[in-house]
Structure formats: structure tokens, C-alpha cells
């Protein structure tokens, strides 16, 4: 009888723990969505709505097409975004990458830009990722000030090369996906 009570107690405890963890996870997810995701969706919706309705979208499509419509253009785009002077300015919150990405998505959706460009485009809009955050990121990793001093330019220069390289790799890797 004692063994049975113990077993029941153990089961009750572990179930309680799992349910507690799941409930807390749900709470965290909802928090995240309300605090981070929905505000950005509101902002993106406003921008996209105005762009689509006013016809700026067509202008932008024409402007983006030579850059975003083909692999060479995407490499040029990644070079520009990855410039050591520009990349820390374009980084914060990935706002620029998110807006360009959404604009390209709209163009892909209307077939103005081929769907086969999606994978290289994901890399072309993002060579600046984290360039605004290098000192903080290194500090989180408990780096010495001397390391930060060297680390900032090292990462920025590296991006100038790896930005275009990532577009080329993505372009090769997207062969066979979404044929027209």
C-alpha cells in the first residue's frame, strides 16, 4: 500500500511539473507574440498597405528588379549592404532586412520577381546581420576590451567577403527549387 501511494505521488509530481512547464511556455510564447511580433506586424502592414495602394509598389518593383531579379544583382546588393560603413547602420532590429524582405516577398507573390530567387535573396538582404551589436555581443561572451577593439573591424571586413559568398552558395543550393 505504501509503495502504491509513493508511486501515485511520484506520478502526480512529474505530471504537475510537465504541465507547469507547458503552461509557462505558453505564457512566454504569448508574451513574445504580443510584445515583439504583433507590433512589428502592425508596422509592416501599414508600410505594405500604403505601398500597395499608392502605386509606390510598382515604382519600387521597377527599381528593385535589376537588383533583386537576378543572382548578379543580388550579389551587388549584398556587397552594398555589407559595406563596413553601412552595415552597422543597417543592422538595428533587422528593420531594413525585414522591410526589404517583405517588399521582395510581395514582388515574388505577384511573379514580378521569380520564386527561384527566394533563397539567395534571403542571404542578400542580410549580410549586415548583427553588425550593430558586435561590442555588446562580445561583452555577453565576456570578451576583453582589447578583443572587442579588434573584433569589431574583423567581423565587419569579414562580412564584405562572406556576404556575397553566402549569396553565391544560396544560389547554387537553390538549383532545382521552384522551377518556372
Amino acid at each position: 500500500m505504501g509503495a502504491l501511494t509513493k508511486l501515485l505521488e511520484k506520478i502526480g509530481r512529474s505530471v504537475g511539473k510537465v504541465v507547469g512547464v507547458l503552461y509557462q511556455s505558453g505564457r512566454d510564447s504569448i508574451d513574445q507574440v504580443i510584445k515583439n511580433v504583433l507590433p512589428f506586424m502592425a508596422f509592416i502592414s501599414l508600410v505594405i498597405g500604403i505601398i500597395l495602394k499608392t502605386g509606390i509598389g510598382d515604382l519600387l518593383a521597377n527599381a528593385l528588379k535589376p537588383l533583386a531579379g537576378n543572382p548578379v544583382g543580388l550579389i551587388v546588393m549584398s556587397l552594398i549592404i555589407g559595406l563596413p560603413v553601412l552595415s552597422p547602420l543597417l543592422g538595428p532590429g533587422a528593420v531594413i532586412a525585414q522591410i526589404i524582405g517583405t517588399l521582395l516577398g510581395v514582388q515574388i507573390g505577384t511573379k514580378a520577381i521569380p520564386a527561384s530567387i527566394a533563397l539567395p535573396a534571403l542571404f542578400a538582404i542580410n549580410p549586415q546581420v548583427g553588425c550593430d551589436f558586435i561590442p555588446v555581443g562580445l561583452a555577453l561572451g565576456e570578451a576583453e576590451p582589447e578583443t572587442v577593439e579588434i573584433g569589431v573591424p574583423a567581423v565587419l571586413f569579414s562580412r564584405l567577403v562572406t556576404g556575397p559568398v553566402s549569396v553565391i552558395i544560396a544560389w547554387v543550393a537553390s538549383i532545382g527549387m521552384y522551377p518556372q
Partner: protein, 192 residues
């Protein structure tokens, strides 16, 4: 009067379109995002974050295998378990000369998993979801793009880690020889 009415109609129309976009984003992305994030958050809580620390210690060792781990497995585990921006704290297990390269590698992996594991960086989900929405609008298979984004991301962060490690090494060497030269010059000046 009619002109004013048209003007008002056009003005409201701008935001009606935005509202439609908002509804399609919320209904298309948020439900899956919430459920998936709940599942992964629970999984992480049950596994325990401290278990990946061993990988961090291993990745600081010299050799080919630790190097591969340092710029592929470790960034993935850090980003998956700790998410942006706490993932970069895993750099504390590495020697100073490797920290910039690891940061570069880890920070470049906060977006490629978004198609599979949106919990890693929900605040920046549109880096992925913006372009992905175009693909779903065309009724094409989104899973294909998500998995390729993830895999190419791994290859890219590996290359990025190697190159940044190399650049850091050169710059640290140059700085060390500069300080040595400066000290020598200072010593000569003191002697003279």
C-alpha cells in the same frame, strides 16, 4: 463635395489595405508561431539549458573537429536553446582570439532557422517571413525553402567563422608587433 468624399475614400483605402495585410499576417503566421514556440520552449525547459555548456568547452580546444563544432554545432545549439541575444554568452567558454569569430558565426544564425524554429528570434521573423509569404502566395512548398535556408545558413556560418578567425589572428598579430615596436622605440628614446 464629391472631391472631398473621394479624397476621404482614398485616405481610408490606404489603411484598409494595410488592415487586410495585417489580418492575413496574423491569421497566417501567428497561430502556428504560438503553438510551435510553446512546444519548443517547453522542450528547452525540460532538457535544461546547462547541458550545452559541455559543447562550449569542447569547442574551445584546438584541432579540426572542435573548429567544425565551434562554427556549426555550437552556434546552432546556442541559438536554439538560448535564442537571440543570450546565445552570444556561449562565447565565454572560448579563448579570446576565437570570440569575434564565434560571435560572427552565432549572430549569422539567428535568422536561418526561423522557417523551422521561429522561437529563436520571433521579433525579427520578417527577415524570413517576408520573402516566405511570397512563396506561400504562389502556393509553392514552403518547407523546401525553410530547410534549404537552414542548411545553407550552417555552411555560411562555418565559412564566416573560419574567415573571421583568420582576420582576427592577423589583426592581433599586427597589433602585438606594433606594441612591441612602440615599446622598443620608447626604450631607445629613454636610452638616448
Amino acid at each position: 463635395m464629391e472631391f472631398l468624399a473621394n479624397l476621404a475614400q482614398g485616405f481610408i483605402g490606404l489603411f484598409q489595405k494595410g488592415g487586410e495585410v495585417f489580418v492575413s499576417l496574423v491569421s497566417g503566421i501567428v497561430p502556428l508561431l504560438i503553438v510551435l514556440m510553446t512546444a519548443v520552449n517547453a522542450l528547452i525547459a525540460l532538457i535544461g539549458v546547462e547541458r550545452i555548456e559541455g559543447v562550449g568547452k569542447y569547442a574551445g580546444k584546438p584541432g579540426i573537429l572542435p573548429t567544425i563544432v565551434r562554427y556549426t554545432v555550437l552556434p546552432f545549439l546556442s541559438v536554439f536553446f538560448l535564442t537571440n541575444p543570450m546565445a552570444y554568452t556561449m562565447g565565454r567558454f572560448l579563448p579570446e582570439r576565437l570570440k569575434p569569430a564565434f560571435y560572427d558565426s552565432a549572430v549569422s544564425f539567428v535568422h536561418p532557422p526561423l522557417g523551422l524554429f521561429p522561437h529563436v528570434n520571433p521579433g525579427e521573423i520578417f527577415v524570413w517571413a517576408g520573402i516566405a509569404k511570397g512563396i506561400t502566395d504562389l502556393k509553392l512548398n514552403i518547407g523546401d525553402l525553410a530547410i534549404r535556408y537552414f542548411l545553407v545558413g550552417l555552411v555560411v556560418i562555418f565559412i564566416r567563422g573560419l574567415l573571421t578567425e583568420y582576420i582576427t589572428k592577423i589583426m592581433m598579430g599586427r597589433k602585438a608587433s606594433d606594441t612591441a615596436a612602440a615599446e622598443a622605440a620608447a626604450g631607445e628614446a629613454a636610452a638616448a
